[in-house]
């Protein structure tokens, strides 16, 4: 990076540090922060859509759909979320490969599960073993996003389902009295009003989502935890120009600070949004604001 970095062994502390922090591998570490941010900002809307769908299904008049919705809503209550993470990543991967196998190799007669192996034909592999490394990473990342979406969708469904039930009954009755169909009253009365009730839960969920991102490491994505472990481990002078002892402690302190800053900023922003949204609402917060003004 800098001109004086030609021979790091001759440098004193400060320039050495400057050179060390700008090596290629360090930039991969910095880049992985973007991976984490990307995951958060993609997952949040996906989870919200899943959650909305789940909450709608749980209120559906059609019985099987309602069961599905209720199970989805209740899914996260009893079982650790990490179990779902580990389960869905493999299950989704195998499911996709199985479907592709059925389509691409219809005349394949060997069973897919042979003892302890899961064997599909070469054309059905995802991604194809011939495709470049980038696609493998993209595939892993999308699987992770989808898994996060399903699990956090369940959390969101839980929150939204509660919020839909929290909208005062009288509002819906008024809508009925005006002759609105259930669909109209749902979209025109219930949905606009429920956000206020959902907001505390959703902001909580946002915090949980931030704090769940290190689990990406378990899903096989090269995220910040992966790189912190990789780069922090003691570096032998035989393999690198920048030998150093075990620095994993410092790397993880760095990650801790990153997360603390991120959650703190989110907290402040969310508090602002809450104040904005409760403006003019018939809730305690809104009434208090009205009095203060």
């Amino acid at each position: 990076m800098f001109g004086f970095c030609e021979d790091p062994s001759t440098l004193s502390n400060l320039p050495w540090m400057a050179c060390y922090l700008t090596t290629g591998k360090q930039f991969l570490f910095y880049g992985s922060f973007l991976t984490v941010l990307a995951l958060i900002f993609i997952t949040a809307p996906v989870a919200l859509i899943f959650g909305f769908g789940g909450a709608m299904a749980a209120r559906s008049p059609i019985l099987p759909l309602r069961w599905f919705g209720k199970i989805y809503v209740a899914m996260v209550r009893g079982v650790p979320d990490i179990v779902y993470f580990m389960f869905f990543v493999i299950a989704l991967d195998q499911g996709l490969e199985w479907i592709r196998h059925q389509i691409k190799c219809p005349d394949w007669d060997a069973p897919i599960r042979q003892g302890n192996d899961f064997i599909v034909c070469a054309q059905a592999k995802l991604p194809l073993s011939t495709s470049p490394q980038v696609w493998h990473e993209v595939y892993n990342f999308s699987l992770a996003v989808f898994t996060f979406g399903i699990v956090f969708g369940a959390f969101a469904a839980n929150v939204l389902y509660g919020a839909m039930r929290a909208v005062p009954r009288a509002q819906m009755e008024t809508a009925e009295a005006y002759g609105m169909t259930p669909r109209q009253s749902f979209w025109r009365i219930l949905v606009p009003q429920m956000w206020m009730y959902a907001l505390p839960g959703l902001s909580n969920l946002w915090m949980i989502l931030i704090k769940a991102t290190p689990l990406l490491f378990l899903l096989g994505v090269e995220d910040i935890v992966y790189w912190a472990r990789e780069l922090g481990g003691s570096a032998n002078p035989r393999f690198t120009a920048y030998p150093h002892p075990d620095w994993r402690l410092w790397y993880f302190i760095g990650l801790l600070v990153f997360y603390l800053a991120f959650t703190r900023v989110s907290e402040i922003v969310l508090a602002r949004i809450t104040r904005r949204l409760s403006h003019g609402q018939g809730t305690l917060g809104g009434v208090r604001q009205g009095k203060a003004a």
């Binding site: 990490i82 179990v83 493999i90 195998q94 599960r113 994993r248």
Partner: protein, 268 residues
């Protein structure tokens, strides 16, 4: 091997009794149920101990955070902020590497790098921070009239806290605390994926489930088994905490009692 023999061989495998080698081929359903169930011992160990010790620190933190004294309040606020604002996963890693470096400095810290003690300390501090925040919220919602009544009776300091504030605080915070307990048990599954080594393959329920899923490439059996065990564990926690809740509210008229509502608001 019959299922009973499997149970004898692997029932206590996670704490080091029974067969040394884990099953390697021809996994039966019985083996998976037994071994994963045996791993659950660790989850219960972490959960119960961390909750029990953490409870006292949590009360102390809640009172400290509500204190008027800046020197007492600030440390409590920071402690709660650090442990609630960062992922438990990172805390585990950090603690593990911290204990590793301390170990080089002094051999007193040897046992701390083991999962049994090191991870327990992290979980204890973590749950203390989360429950501290819960009880702080409950502390602030103790009805003013109760405190004034205590003042009127001439109670002060410790007596007032022990007889009036503390019972009400506990009662008000209990439903949220139940939630916290459930999610603490869930969080115990992270231990063996976060740096702390599983010595001689003695791990928790998820560790063994992961072992089976890796060996068989079939996630559809071991993970549902873990899920099944955890649903049972969650129900047990709800039952125990529900009984305590009933006891805490026993002086209230029936309709004013706090209902237990399980809401996933506190995962870390």
């Amino acid at each position: 091997m019959s299922c009973w023999e499997t149970f004898q061989a692997y029932g206590l495998r996670s704490i080091g009794y029974g067969e040394r080698l884990l099953p390697r081929t021809d996994f039966t359903l019985c083996e998976q149920f037994t071994l994963i169930g045996s791993g659950l011992i660790w989850n219960i160990y972490y959960g119960v101990l961390a909750l029990t010790i953490g409870f006292f620190l949590a009360i102390a933190l809640a009172v400290a955070k509500a204190s008027d004294n800046l020197w007492v309040r600030k440390p409590a606020e920071w402690f709660i902020f650090v442990f609630r604002g960062s992922p438990l996963f990172i805390q585990f890693f950090l603690a593990y590497f911290l204990f590793l470096s301390l170990k080089q400095w002094n051999s007193i810290f040897d046992p701390f790098t083991s999962a049994a003690l090191g991870a327990l300390i992290v979980l204890f501090l973590n749950t203390a921070a989360y429950s501290g925040e819960i009880f702080y919220g409950a502390f602030r919602s103790v009805p003013r009239g109760d405190v004034e009544a205590a003042d009127a009776y001439g109670m002060s300091g410790w007596t007032k806290f022990r007889r009036v504030i503390y019972p009400t605080m506990l009662r008000l915070g209990w439903p949220a605390y139940t939630n916290e307990a459930i999610f603490l048990f869930h969080a115990t599954t992270l231990v063996f994926f976060s740096g702390f080594p599983a010595w001689q393959q003695k791990g928790d329920a998820l560790y063994y489930a992961n072992y089976f899923a890796d060996k068989t490439f079939n996630p559809f059996i071991p993970y549902p088994i873990v899920a099944f065990y955890f649903v049972l564990l969650t129900l047990a926690v709800i039952f125990v905490f529900g009984r305590i809740n009933v006891r805490l509210n026993r002086h209230l008229p029936q309709e004013r009692r706090q209902r237990m509502r399980v809401r996933p608001q506190l995962i870390r």
